[in-house]
Symmetry: C2
C-alpha cells in the first residue's frame, strides 16, 4: 500500500479506534496472539528461512511475542496506566474557587513502527512497539523490515484477521513495504504522530533528525543498541575466574552476538588471575560453533567493524578467525583503560560475537572508565560482598549511564514485565525517558489532557465519578480505587 494512503487510513481509523473501550483493545491484542499462534509452523519456518535463526529460538520468540500481546491486554484491561488524576471542585475556596479538573493519558494518533532484523517476531510486525501502540489506543503503520518480508506479511495477515474478527477498521494496523525513501516519507508525513524504531545508530539517528526537522516535530523512540559494559571487580575475579569467563562468553556468543544487550566490553582487573581469565575466555570463544548471521549485510558489518577495531592502537587480537560472508565467527581482543579512554572508537558497538576486554590497574582507572561511558542499554557489575564500597561508588556512576544495571547474571535476556527498562541515555536510545520493552512502553504513545468543569456525560469513562472499571486514580492527591460521591 502507498505510504500516504496508509497514513490517511490510519488517521481516519484513529477517530474510531481512540474511542474503543479498554476491553475492546484487550480483545484485539489477545485475538492477534491467537491468530499468530494459528499460523503454526509456517510462520516459524518462514522466519527461519529469512533470518537464519534456528527454529527453537523462533519458537521461544513467538511465545514471547504472544505473551507480550497478552500482557498489554492485561494492562489495558486493568486500566490504571492512564494515570487518571482528579482534583474535585472547591467552590468555597478563598480567594478563588477551584474548578473540577480531571486528567488522564490519551493516545497520540497514528504511530509509524520500524521492525528489527534481529527479532523478526518480538521486535517486528506484531512486536513490542506495535503491541504497546495498539494498547494505548494509537493506530499503527508498520514499515516492513527488508530482512524478513514474508514473515512480516504472515504476521500482518494475522493482525488483519484479528481486526476483522473484532469488528475494527483495517486502518488500525497497516503494512507498508519499500526502501529507505518510504521510511523517510513515513517519518516526515504530517499525519504521523510518533515513531518507534529498533536497529542501528545510523538508522535511528537519521529518523530522529528527520522527525525533529518536521514543521511539527514528533517523538521518536529509537533503540539503537549499545556496548553493554560488564565490570568485574578484583575479588570477584579471584573467587571464580574460569566460571565468570564462561558466563561472560555465553552472553557474548548468544544468538551469534546479535542481541542489543550482548556485552561488548569487559572491564577486568589487571591482576594475577587476568591471564587464567583471558585463557578461559579465549577457549570459550575459540571453540564456539559459528552460526549463520541474520543476513550478509550484518555479517559484512561485523567483520568490517572488527577489522577496523583490531587496527586501533593498543588493541591486541586474542581470538581472530577468517571472515565469512554469512557465518559469525567469534572474536576477542584486549586493551587497557588508558588506551580505551583515549580512543572513542573503542566505545563503538560491534554487532556480533565479539567482546573487547579492557584491563584496569586500580580503582581510579575503573571509575574513570565508568565515568567516560556513553549512554548504554545495560551495565553489569560483578563484585563480592567484601567490595560493597567500590560497588556503591560504581553504582552511583553507572545508574546515570544506563537503563538497566545488573549485579548478577548477564544482560542478554530482556524480561517482558513491569519493572523492565529497555532503554537508556543517548546513544542507546533517542529518548531515555522511556522503555521499549515491558509495561511502561505503553506510555510512550500517550500524553496527558485535563478536562476542566466537564459534565459527567462528556468525560471519558476513566474520569467519571463512578469508577466503573475500578482503576487506581489519584483523587485530591491520594491514590484510591473508590468512586466519587455525587
Amino acid at each position: 500500500m502507498p505510504y500516504n494512503e496508509a497514513l490517511k487510513k490510519a488517521t481516519q481509523a484513529f477517530e474510531v479506534y481512540k474511542k474503543t473501550t479498554s476491553s475492546q483493545r484487550a480483545l484485539l491484542l489477545r485475538t492477534i496472539a491467537e491468530e499468530i499462534e494459528a499460523l503454526g509452523d509456517e510462520l516459524l519456518e518462514t522466519a527461519s528461512r529469512e533470518s537464519n535463526l534456528p527454529l527453537a529460538r523462533l519458537t521461544g520468540e513467538r511465545g514471547r511475542t504472544c505473551n507480550q500481546l497478552r500482557l498489554f491486554a492485561d494492562v489495558v484491561e486493568e486500566g490504571s496506566w492512564v494515570e487518571a488524576t482528579i482534583d474535585t471542585a472547591l467552590p468555597g475556596r478563598q480567594p478563588l474557587p477551584r474548578p473540577d479538573m480531571r486528567r488522564m493519558l490519551v493516545p497520540l494518533g497514528p504511530v509509524v513502527v520500524f521492525g528489527a532484523s534481529n527479532f523478526p517476531l518480538a521486535f517486528s510486525t506484531a512486536g513490542g512497539d506495535s503491541a504497546s501502540a495498539l494498547a494505548s489506543g494509537c493506530t499503527v503503520v508498520y514499515k516492513e523490515h527488508p530482512g524478513h518480508p514474508k514473515t512480516s506479511q504472515l504476521v500482518y495477515k494475522a493482525i488483519s484477521n484479528a481486526l476483522q474478527k473484532c469488528g475494527l477498521p483495517e486502518g488500525v494496523f497497516q503494512h507498508v513495504s519499500g526502501g529507505v525513501e518510504v521510511g523517510q516519507e513515513l517519518v516526515k508525513h504530517p499525519a504521523t504522530k510518533a515513531v518507534a524504531f529498533t536497529g542501528s545508530y545510523k538508522g535511528g539517528k537519521a529518523i530522529f533528525d528527520l522527525a525533529m526537522q518536521r514543521e511539527v516535530p514528533v517523538p521518536v523512540y529509537a533503540e539503537m543498541g549499545s556496548t553493554n559494559p560488564l565490570f568485574i571487580l578484583p575479588e570477584k575475579l579471584k573467587e571464580d575466574t574460569a566460571q565468570l569467563a564462561r558466563q561472560a562468553a555465553a552472553s557474548v556468543l548468544l544468538g551469534s552476538g546479535q542481541f542489543c544487550t550482548c556485552p561488548g566490553l569487559l572491564f577486568v582487573p589487571d591482576s594475577d588471575v587476568t591471564t587464567p581469565f583471558m585463557e578461559a575466555l579465549e577457549e570459550e570463544l575459540s571453540k564456539a560453533t559459528p552460526a549463520k548471521m541474520l543476513h550478509e549485510g550484518i555479517a559484512g558489518n561485523y567483520y568490517t567493524g572488527l577489522g577496523k577495531l583490531l587496527k586501533e592502537q593498543g588493541v591486541q587480537a586474542i581470538v581472530q578467525q577468517e571472515t565469512d560472508v554469512l557465518e559469525g565467527r567469534a572474536a576477542l581482543a584486549r586493551t587497557d583503560v588508558q588506551q580505551w579512554l583515549q580512543n572513542p572508537a573503542l566505545q563503538e558497538e560491534i554487532f556480533g560475537p565479539f567482546t573487547l576486554v579492557v584491563t584496569y590497574k586500580n580503582t581510579d582507572e575503573l571509575l574513570a572508565a565508568a565515568n567516560a561511558l556513553q549512554g548504554q542499554l545495560t551495565c553489569t557489575l560483578w563484585g563480592t560482598n567484601q567490595e560493597e564500597q567500590l560497588q556503591q561508588n560504581l553504582t552511583d556512576v553507572l545508574r546515570d549511564k544506563c537503563g538497566r544495571l545488573l549485579f548478577a547474571g548477564v544482560p542478554t535476556g530482556v524480561e517482558v514485565s513491569h519493572a523492565m527498562t529497555h532503554g537508556g541515555p543517548f546513544p542507546a536510545t533517542t529518548d531515555s525517558r522511556s522503555t521499549s520493552v515491558g509495561v511502561y512502553a505503553i506510555k510512550r504513545f500517550a500524553r496527558p489532557v485535563t478536562f476542566q468543569s466537564a459534565p459527567q456525560a462528556l468525560l471519558p469513562q476513566e474520569l467519571q465519578n463512578g469508577n466503573s472499571t475500578g482503576i487506581w486514580r489519584t483523587i485530591n492527591g491520594k491514590l484510591t480505587q473508590s468512586s466519587i460521591n455525587e
Copy 2:
C-alpha cells in the same frame, strides 16, 4: 558567573544532590519559600518596577510561587512520584528463572531553566521549572530574564541562603546573566541534561532546534503559548448573550492579555444574537482601562502583530485604538470560518488584550474549524445540556488539540495542583507528553532505571524490601504500600 563554570559546578553538585533524601529536598524547597517570603516588600516593589505589574498581582504571584515550592516539597516527601516498580525473582520459573528487577525514576542531571517575562516570580528564578527540577533531584542553572534582573537576583539570593541553611552545595542552583548567546551556549553545553523554557514560539523553537542538533540531544520543555480558542454553541449564546460577552472579555483583558492562556480566538455562531454579543464584547473592550505592558518590546510586538492581522483579507476591526509605546490598549476584530480556514496567519498568537471573533454558520463549519486548529494549551467549549451531542463531537476533536479542555469558566487561571496539564501539542509546547504546571511537572526531569539482582544495600531506599517511607509501589503488577517479606 560564566556559563561554563556554572555548568561545571552544577555537574559536581549533582553528584552530591542526587544522593540527597527526599526529606532533604523537601526541606530545601520549603526553606526557599521561607527565604522568598523573608524578602518582604522589597521583592514585590522591585518586581513591580521591573515588570509594570501591580503589587496586588505580584502579591498573589508570590503566594503562588511559595505554594508551588511547598506543593513540590509535599510530593517529594510523600515519595511515590518515582514510580517504584518491583518484579520479585521467580527462581523456579520454567524455562528460565526470572531475576529480581526494581525500577524507579532517577534525576537527569543539570537542568537549564529560562524564565518568563510575564511571571517574574511564578515562572522565573524560583518558578515552576526550577521548583520541579530541584524536587526531582536535578541541579539548576538559571538563565536570568533580562526583563527583571533585580527581581531575579533577589530570588537567587533567597535560594542561595536556603542552600546554605540546608548545608547543600551552592552549585545546586546557580544564576547566569547574559544575552541570547549565553542562552545558546547553555543549551549546547554537554553538561546540560535538559532545558525548560517559557516564552515565545521564536525563542522556544530556537532552543529546541539547538538542543536537537547537539551531539547528544536533550529534552526541551518549551511552553510557547497559544491562541486558546473558545467555542460558544448556538443555544448557549442565546441563553446568556451579554453575560458570556462579559466573561470572555474579562479573560481576554486579564493582565493586559499577557497570560499564555488568554483566549485569542472566539468561535461564535452567526445567529440573531451575534450582533448583541458583538456589541457587548465591543463595549467591554472599549471601556477597559489600559495598563502598562511588561516592557516596550512586548507592547511593540502587540501593536505590530495586531496591525498585520487587521490588514489580512476578511478581517474587520471592531475595536481599534491608537498604538502606544507601553500601554496595552484592547482590540477586537471579526472574521468568519471560511476566511479563517483559508489563512494560517489568523491562527497566530497576538500576545496582548486582543481577541478575534470567528463566526460560523453551521455545525460543519464549527467542526471544520476545530479540526483545523494547531496545538493549543487550552480549548474552551461553552454549550448547554441540550447541545450534548454537538459538545461530544467537538470534545472528540478538541481533546487531541490541547492540554486542557474547559467546559465552563475561562482558560486564564492555571491551577497548581495534581490534575493540571499546562502543556499541549506543538506549537503550544515542544513536548506534549508533559506539563509545566502542577505535580506531574516533576517527571519531566527524570528517567527510569532498573536495578537487576541488586543486593539490598546497593538499592536506593525506595526500592529496598522494607518500604521505610511507605511509598506506593507496583510489586508484581499490583500497587501497594507494603514491604516485601525477606
